[in-house]
């Protein structure tokens, strides 16, 4: 049963009572959609006649979501470069590996770059993943300048004819301006070699409203082209991803649902909304 289903079926039979609306609002807020989004949905329910309710709520939900393309555009015969960014502990390295696996399964030649030279053993973590999925990993020395590692990776990707280059950057809290500057540098340096096609922001699905602020600040250093929301399981709804997409119009592209390399799928807004409403 989706998040809205039981309420909508109730509301479409009879006019919603104040208690029911309060309860509905509570459920919405508890899924981390935020006060703003929750209020707009409640307004829709209050405004619409019972028979139009479902389509009206669908429209409201759609209006929150970006209309941009959610696929990663890959031009054949040319290198596609993807930068993975986000705060600490959201699952960047795991997502980078999952993404690499996703492309490899589609027959692409993929190169990973371990540009997290800051966290102890982060490079080894990606190397282990690389071995498991059979993808080459470019690494630098620990505490090496991440921009230099990325430069090496990009150069090598071009030279050896890779089709996809995925760069895993170090986690950084968005409030550290020096680290955000470093990210800007990584981008500038890579772009000297090859254009960056995608910057994917990794958002922890258990994050609250702070997620919006994270994405906001990151987008000031590197223009974000998409999001990956992670750690989504049966109970975590990751409503903040919707709130963030609404606030910044950055499309959610992938959803990470577990620890396995296959626990990763493209985000499909149509079926997401259908799921919520049933």
């Amino acid at each position: 049963m989706g998040l809205f289903g039981s309420f909508l079926s109730k509301f479409s039979r009879a006019k919603a009572s104040i208690e029911d609306l309060d309860e509905f609002r509570r459920v919405l807020i508890e899924s981390d959609l935020g006060v703003n989004v929750a209020d707009q949905i409640i307004e829709t329910v209050k405004r619409e006649k019972a028979e139009n309710l479902e389509s009206a709520v669908t429209e409201t939900l759609k209006s929150f979501l970006s209309t941009q393309d959610r696929t990663i555009s890959i031009s054949s015969g040319k290198l596609t470069t993807i930068l993975i960014v986000g705060v600490n502990g959201t699952g960047k390295t795991t997502s980078a590996a999952k993404l690499a696996h996703h492309f490899k399964a589609n027959g692409k030649k993929v190169l990973l770059v371990a540009a997290d030279t800051f966290r102890a053993a982060a490079v080894e973590q990606l190397l282990t993943w690389g071995k498991r999925i059979g993808v080459e990993v470019v690494q630098g020395a620990e505490n090496a300048d991440p921009a230099a590692v990325c430069f090496d990776g990009a150069t090598r990707a071009l030279k050896d004819g890779y089709e996809i280059l995925i760069i895993d950057t170090a986690g950084r809290l968005h409030t550290k301006s020096n680290l955000m500057d470093e990210l800007g540098k990584v981008r500038r340096v890579v772009e000297k070699v090859t254009p960056i096609d995608e910057v994917l922001f990794v958002l922890d699905g258990t994050t609250g409203q702070n997620g919006i602020s994270q994405a906001q600040v990151f987008s000031e250093s590197v223009p974000l082209t998409g999001m990956i929301v992670t750690k989504i399981d049966g109970s975590t709804r990751g409503g903040v991803a919707i709130a963030t997409e609404k606030a910044l119009a950055v499309p959610l592209k992938f959803v990470g649902t577990g620890e396995g390399i296959e626990d990763f799928r493209p985000f499909d807004p149509e079926s997401y909304i259908r799921e919520l409403l049933t």
Binding site: R26, I29, E30, S31, D32, G34, V35, V87, N88, G89, T90, G91, F118, R119, A120, A121, A122, E124, Q125, L127, T128, W129, E142, L173, H174, T175, K176, N178, D204, T206, T207, G208, Q209, N210, G211, S213, Q214, K231, D233, G234, S235, T236, G239, V240, E259
Partner: protein, 481 residues
Amino acid sequence: MFEGLSNKFSDVFGALRKKGRITESDIDATCEELRVALLEADVALSVVEKFVERIRQRSLEILPVIRQSTQQSQEIYGVINQELIAILGGAARRIRYAKQPPTIIMLAGLQGSGKTTLAGKLARFLKEDGNTPLLVAADLQRPNAVTQLSVLAESINVPIFAPEPGNGVGDPVRVSRDAVEYAREKLYNVVIVDTAGRLGVDAELMKQASDIRDAVKPDETLFVVDAMIGQDAVRTAQAFSEGVGFDGVVLTKLDGDAKGGAALSIAELTGKPILFTSIGEKLSDFDYFYPDRMASRILGMGDIQTLAEQAKKALDGDSAKRLEEKFVSGEDFTLEDFLEQMQAMKKMGSMTKILGMLPGANNAAMKKQIDAIDDKELVRTQAIVQSMTPEERRNPKVLNGSRRSRIARGSGRTVTEVNSLVDRFSAAQKVMKQMRSGGGMPKGMALPPGMGMPAAPRIAAAPKKKSRSGNPAKRAADEGR
């Protein structure tokens, strides 16, 4: 830390403060704003409702009493402050050490909450306190978690027990049990067990955690929570509380702008105290959690106590004493001392972090100023001083044009910058001379960054060298004959 939350509180109070006389409807309006502010700060909905209701009740109760008060908004503020402290845990609690060492501390939490980093920080913290901690790598799940902990252990010079390579290989329960045995044998007095992160719903991993718990019988099980967690905090805390059980909470990543609502939610919902906070990337960015400080911080009152403690820690005893002696003996404060102070300041963290702890740091104007501060200024200043010869540092008067241009080249700065540093330094030296002669700090004299005297103000005027009396009898008495 908690900035967002305190911003909102500041806004709520700003509106209230403008009212001379507070009515019941003002309280209702304030409570409504407070409700939205707390929800946006990711405080769990049920906690928000209870908290706001308590505030409303108590405010309404005191309303008749404070009718005569000229600062009614202050009284309401007091109510909120008290309630915040009450929720955040009343008094801070310390680690409970076992009567029979070793004391066993087990860390549990969601994936990515920062357990492994925290294990390192906690070990360092306890070691500084005179303990002999042993780190145990029992996260055999996440790729290279064992390596990560080993690297951390090495950097803080703490032994690690890591018999298994991890990456899915090995039995964490056995590792933990063996570790305790090992600690007993080698007389380590604290054992810190880093376990694998798990999702709240993962029954299998939850079972593993409770198996570890049963095997080692920890004295403290600490639940590690990311300060940025949202409404999920409720479910997560409950899952861990039922699945593993915990005695205390550690909040991590508090240096972000997370509004930190999780702290309120978890403390209220589980009734367990928050023991520690982790506030930065350096292994030293770790401290006890102080509910009263946090409450005053949330309300925009600043965190002077933490600042003072950090200053004390950063200026190590010896150098502070040396500075004091210099000051008393009338020796000049040199650029060498200045350099030492700058290095101490750097140990305290970035300038922005330090200033963020000051009262009023959350109001918009002050925030803008703080944001405009360039933390690299300290680095540049240090580079200039380090490009000087020892003689130049001791006696800046020798700095002629050619020396200055050499220093500029050496430090990669311009001659103008070198000049301005030297000028500011001589001005500061003058100020210190005046202070020593009891003149106090002249008004409007600003010290260049890093030139304050953190440890010195206790000293009054230096004892003057006693002049010998012209009267032979009196001189004899003076000299104690």
